[in-house]
């Protein structure tokens, strides 16, 4: 195992990457952001379709963008808005470790002017980021996001329990893990509530999971088709309960210390639950907004996605998919079924791989440039807010 070294931030948190993030405040800035990142190749750009924060989702949108851009893996952020009204994100980031520069299309003389200014700003930020050195870091400073996507019937038997062992090892060293994907915990609520550290946390576990189930019911929709997805079903998962009991195994056996809202930062160490959708990208963005520096992502069907700022270690539940999607997947937990590993030994291997990745080893999705980004919404007003 490589000795763990990371980037110490002014707020005491540790980064395992040193990104310069170029982020639009609203969708009309996407094009300028993409053009800046196309020139400054070492900058990391995201795109989204949000408008001005309004209504029920305003706090959620602000928390997501602010938390993501102040993730400890981000050294500096170039934030691009349309008018001065979009300065709210840069103002919020001023109170964090992230060094921020705000550009607006209106203030920079239009989109081309913004691109030119942004290229200079991002280039200077990348040069500064290159000068920052890693320092010895304790694994207990890690916040690990637990994710499964494109699950199959093997996920709950191989990759997820092995990841649970890795999560327990991290939590046992004083670190933090986040279990999420609320719809994929439906049916596992009592099992999880029993592991809560206090009656209040147990109640929050139940309320969050049952609340999501109620929201689905109130929509009057059939959740099948989304959960389990067509691919989950083809992979042998029959019901949401079966998927959930397998999905929850990613959280190992550690006590659950708190329940977090989407994109909320943990204030304790240990295993948390975050209330996110099962949508892989929305979930990873929520966990990164909450401060996860690294993500472990199990898959049975195989999926290439990653997170723009937090390295995502991809773990296959079966050897067939690991071999077929070799360039997209990092670890083969199918070795458990093949008999060449136990859940325990695979868990230790995953933990060691996570420490390697934290120390700087790139993951398949990082090498490929997978930088998917999406923001979870819960409110859908008839009239969209201006972009």
């Amino acid at each position: 195992v490589t000795e763990l070294e990371g980037f110490l931030r002014s707020d005491g948190r540790w980064g395992v990457r040193n990104h310069v993030l170029v982020m639009p405040v609203r969708a009309a800035a996407n094009h300028a952001v993409a053009r800046i990142a196309a020139v400054v190749a070492d900058a990391t750009a995201v795109e989204h379709q949000a408008g001005v924060p309004e209504g029920v989702d305003a706090a959620r949108l602000r928390r997501t963008l602010t938390g993501f851009a102040s993730n400890p893996n981000v050294a500096e952020a170039i934030v691009v808005g349309v008018t001065d009204d979009d300065a709210w994100l840069a103002d919020a980031l001023d109170a964090t470790h992230t060094r921020v520069e705000f550009l607006s299309l209106a203030r920079s003389g239009g989109i081309q002017g913004t691109i030119d200014t942004g290229i200079a700003a991002a280039g200077a930020a990348v040069a500064r980021a290159r000068e920052t050195r890693r320092l010895p870091m304790e694994p207990s400073e890690l916040v690990l996001g637990l994710e499964c996507g494109g699950s199959d019937a093997m996920s709950g038997i191989t990759a997820n329990p092995a990841l649970g062992v890795a999560s327990d090892l991290l939590v046992g060293s004083g670190g933090t893990s986040i279990l999420a994907e609320t719809p994929e915990l439906i049916g596992a609520e009592e099992h999880l509530a029993a592991r809560a550290t206090t009656p209040q946390v147990a109640e929050a576990v139940r309320a969050t999971i049952l609340g999501f189930e109620r929201a689905i019911r109130e929509l009057g929709v059939d959740v099948r088709g989304a959960q389990p997805s067509p691919g989950n079903q083809a992979g042998g998962l029959t019901t949401i309960e079966e998927k959930s009991l397998g999905a929850a195994k990613k959280g190992g056996s550690a006590p659950i210390v708190a329940v977090l809202d989407f994109g909320e930062r943990p204030s304790l160490r240990g295993l948390h639950i975050m209330d996110t959708p099962g949508h892989d990208i929305e979930q990873m963005v929520g966990m990164a907004a909450g401060g996860c520096q690294i993500i472990a992502f199990t898959t049975g069907r195989g999926t290439p996605t990653g997170c723009p700022i937090a390295p995502c270690l991809k773990i296959a539940s079966n050897t067939r998919v690991f071999e077929r999607l070799a360039g997209d997947i990092d670890v083969n937990a199918g070795a458990i079924l093949d008999g060449s590993a136990s859940v325990g030994s695979m868990g230790r291997e995953i933990y060691a791989s996570l420490l390697d990745v934290a120390a700087g080893t790139s993951t398949a999705s990082e090498r490929r440039g997978n930088r998917e980004f999406a923001i979870s919404r819960i409110d859908f007003p008839a009239h969209a807010s201006p972009v």
Partner: protein, 272 residues
């Protein structure tokens, strides 16, 4: 005006070959396949959607692929997504559109999908290469306005009616999130009304005529909007109408000139 006549008689103002990911998970592969040779659509949707929301997303993808400005579409899927890419491609095909499909899980990963996708894209590009513009009447124009409450809308509607052209309005929502709906309904050109503080935005397969209703923002972003919409509404409408005909004929709008291929999708409910 001159436009691209399709096999079903409709006319396109543009001749795009599109690479459409059926889910966010295949967006990077789609972008790599498209490179500079096709329009890659970039979006964050297609999975974890339920009910009307899932059907709306699927229908918009289908409709955009069948927009008259689109000559051919390569659908790129993952395999396990809610909006199944392979089925989507089959439906697009039944509408007579040139379409092919590649899926990441079936091909065996991103690299093989990009390789296969490049071959399929070449096949599609060859198939539609012979398309050329031919003279068409103003009555072939299908113009969309993304906000029925825009001050110029009544006069523009009158101009459209008088020419025997068609006007498409959003059935729900307003602004840029309706652009995909409007394109799916067959609009060749979208007129976008940008109110106070609203920035101009393009669209993947349709020229967007961005009209600013904010004098200060228009002054600051003169090159990025197409029309100053703060003047007398009837003369603004006349200006839009003249520009729409020229745009159909091949004149690039501001968002086309800057290469913006935006694709915002209206969502109906929360992701699961």
């Amino acid at each position: 005006m001159r436009g691209y006549r399709r096999a079903d008689g409709r006319v396109g103002a543009r001749n795009h070959v599109v690479v459409l990911p059926s889910v966010v998970c295949s967006a990077l592969a789609a972008r790599k396949i498209a490179s500079d040779d096709a329009v890659a659509i970039s979006h964050q949707h297609g999975c974890g959607e339920v009910g009307d929301d899932a059907e709306h997303t699927r229908a918009v993808f289908e409709g955009v692929a069948c927009n008259p400005n689109v000559a051919a579409t390569l659908v790129v899927g993952l395999g396990c997504e809610t909006v199944q890419g392979k089925a989507l491609a089959a439906t697009i095909g039944t509408r007579g559109q040139a379409v092919l499909y590649a899926g990441i899980q079936a091909e065996g990963g991103t690299d093989r999908t990009v390789e296969r996708g490049r071959e399929l894209l070449l096949e599609l590009t060859d198939r539609v290469a012979s398309a050329g513009r031919e003279p068409v009447g103003l009555d072939e124009l299908i113009l969309a306005v993304d906000d029925p409450s825009a001050p110029f809308a009544p006069r523009l509607e009158e101009l459209v009616r008088r020419a025997g052209a068609r006007l498409v309005l959003p059935e729900a929502g307003r602004g840029s999130e309706t652009h995909a709906d409007l394109a799916a309904a067959g609009a060749q050109i979208i007129v976008s009304w940008c109110g106070a503080g609203e920035g101009p935005i393009g669209f993947a397969v349709c020229p967007v005529i961005a009209v600013s209703g904010d004098a200060e923002l228009y002054a600051a972003l003169r090159d990025d909007f197409d029309i100053d919409g703060t003047g007398e509404p009837d003369s603004v409408a006349d200006g839009i109408w003249a520009l729409a005909a020229a745009t159909f004929d091949g004149r690039l709008t501001a968002s086309e000139r800057r290469g913006a291929r935006d694709f915002c999708l209206r969502r109906l409910t929360r992701t699961m």
